[in-house]
């Protein structure tokens, strides 16, 4: 709860800082400090809550379970990593640097609500707090028409999916007569399943599929991720997406767990379609940024496995997947913003010019492809394990493994361009020692996740 208050206050502080401080560098420095402070607050929240008794907050609107607080801490850590890696690039997007950081703080407020909600009202508010700042961030590069287009497209799609989500919530309320997700379980289970409840679950599933960009509701993703300023794409594709997944999982685990035979097949088909569309389309992309957008759809397919498996391993799966995917993707975007040319050819010969950059990029790509000893492998292992333990949907697991094999092709194309093709990559901003240090830290995190994933799961 302290974290929600802290992030809101920090966001307001950032907005006022924009009034009084004109120097972009000191604003970025202040933001970095506040993100570190926020990480401290989330850890404080985590340590003051006991493992076995979840605290009910605000008249049972929120419930701070231990895994929620742990997820908050990890995602705040990822945001801090993001600011440390890309704070300099955020300054280049436009004039209003303090506002960009303020919006990121507000997005984190939405994230905290989404990880702790116990009432559909809080879920709705959380999703909106998460989404509305993103519409602005997508359009923050005002000189660029593509950025404005991405913003408009994202806004229209987001508002549309909000409408669907609200209809789902309302139909569910019509069936269960409550918005409380834990009370809902008993009420829906007591009598014969109401058609209103089924329709509500379906609507909510579709709305969440929009938010996490699962096929066939993924159409906006490549355009928005491609059009937005690259620094903000990095944030949208990682921390925000993980938050939406956590909310998705929370609702379906807590409320709809006992009804799983009614919805699991629909979600399995969505998962299969997401894996297929994401991986196959990524193969044909010419731009690495666009390829990463499709790869984020493909990774969403894997994260959906955690929602499909209604058991305890799913929580571990989503947390480890969220952190492994976020860290690797933030890292790869941090390299991408340094380059001028986002096509595969832009990476040609990077290994000669910047050997360290090429090396860390290789590790990040290994992680995304799920090669052992990197975080991505353990993440895929845990989410697939969750479904295997459930004992059904084996066809989907085999299909996912096949699709992971396809993903190796397009990730490795970047590595081939860096190491085996001659060329002189154009670097848009100089790579300083600090950048290199942060990239090595990120790289070390990716490997640590692959070697000792238990470190990140001790609190679950």
């Amino acid at each position: 709860m302290k974290a929600i208050i802290a992030t809101t206050v920090f966001g307001v502080i950032m907005m006022f800082a924009g009034l009084w401080v004109n120097d972009k560098k000191s604003i970025a420095g202040l933001a970095t400090f506040l993100f570190a402070a926020l990480l401290g607050v989330t850890i404080w929240d985590l340590t003051t809550t006991s493992v076995n008794s979840p605290k009910s907050l605000f008249n049972d609107m929120l419930r701070s379970e231990h895994y929620s607080l742990w997820f908050n801490t990890i995602m705040t850590g990822c945001s801090l990593l993001y600011v440390l890696l890309m704070g300099k690039e955020v300054q280049k997007v436009g004039k209003y640097v303090s506002e960009y950081f303020a919006l990121i703080f507000f997005i984190l407020c939405g994230l905290y609500l989404l990880s702790m909600y116990n009432n559909l009202l809080m879920m709705f508010i959380g999703i909106e707090i998460l989404s509305i700042p993103q519409y602005i961030l997508a359009g923050s590069d005002k000189r660029n028409l593509k950025s404005s287009e991405a913003s408009l497209k994202y806004f229209l799609m987001g508002a549309f999916s909000t409408g669907i989500l609200l209809m789902g919530i309302t139909l569910l309320y019509g069936a269960a007569r409550t918005f409380n997700i834990t009370e809902m379980v008993t009420l829906m289970h007591s009598d014969a399943l109401n058609p209103l409840a089924l329709a509500g679950i379906l609507f909510i599933m579709i709305a969440f599929s929009f938010k996490v960009s699962a096929a066939p509701m993924h159409m906006w993703t490549p355009d928005v991720y491609d059009g937005s300023p690259t620094v903000f794409t990095a944030f949208m594709a990682t921390v925000v997406k993980s938050a939406a997944f956590f909310a998705f999982l929370r609702l379906f685990q807590v409320s709809f767990n006992s009804l799983s035979e009614h919805w699991v097949m629909v979600l399995a088909i969505i998962t299969a379609a997401t894996l297929l569309v994401g991986n196959v389309t990524a193969v044909f992309q010419q731009s690495v940024k666009r390829m990463l957008a499709y790869s984020s759809i493909a990774q969403a397919g894997f994260m959906l496995f955690a929602v499909l498996a209604v058991n305890a391993v799913a929580w571990q799966g989503i947390i480890i997947y969220a952190v492994a995917y976020s860290v690797a993707t933030i890292g790869i975007f941090a390299v991408l913003v340094k380059l001028k040319d986002y096509t595969y050819d832009g990476f040609n010969g990077l290994a000669q010019r910047e050997p360290l950059l090429a090396f860390v990029t290789t590790i990040f790509l290994f992680s995304l492809a799920g090669i052992p000893l990197t975080g991505g492998f353990m993440a895929k292992y845990y989410v697939l394990l969750a479904v295997v333990q459930q004992g059904q949907l084996m066809w989907l697991v085999i299909f996912a493994l096949l699709m992971a094999a396809i993903s190796v092709y397009y990730y490795f194309r970047v590595i081939i361009a860096m190491y085996f093709k001659a060329g002189t990559p154009e670097i848009s901003s100089p790579v300083t020692g600090g950048d290199k240090f942060m990239l090595v830290v990120t790289c070390a995190l990716v490997i640590l996740l692959g070697v000792l994933p238990q470190l990140f799961l001790t609190k679950v």
Binding site: F124, E128, I136, L145, S148, G163, R177, T178
Partner: protein, 101 residues
């Protein structure tokens, strides 16, 4: 004929469907936006109806939150549309196809 919950349900589902069809078929960003607002208001109507039938104030509370959030969304959305209009002097969403290549 007495009006019961089914009537409200069908009325708001009808309004919701009109909103969805409009959002999917129209090409003008402002009209799409209005159709999305229609979807939200259909939800509001249904929530108020449920609130009355179940004698539960929670649903009416939810309606207030939807209104507030919708207003916030309008503020951001209209600004985005104005930003777009300044650049291309049109609010036709067919220009969004330019992002595909």
């Amino acid at each position: 004929m007495p009006v019961n919950s089914t009537h409200y349900l069908f009325l708001s589902l009808l309004l919701f469907s009109i909103g969805v069809m409009g959002a999917l078929m129209r090409r003008n960003a402002i009209i799409i936006f209005m159709c999305i607002e229609l979807m939200l208001n259909a939800v509001n109507l249904l929530l108020v109806a449920f609130s009355k039938i179940y004698a539960d104030a929670n649903a009416q509370l939810f309606v207030f939150f939807i209104m507030v959030v919708a207003a916030a969304e309008v503020a951001v959305g209209l600004a985005i549309i104005v930003m777009m209009y300044r650049k291309v002097h049109s609010v036709d969403i067919n220009i969004l196809n330019r992002l595909k290549h």
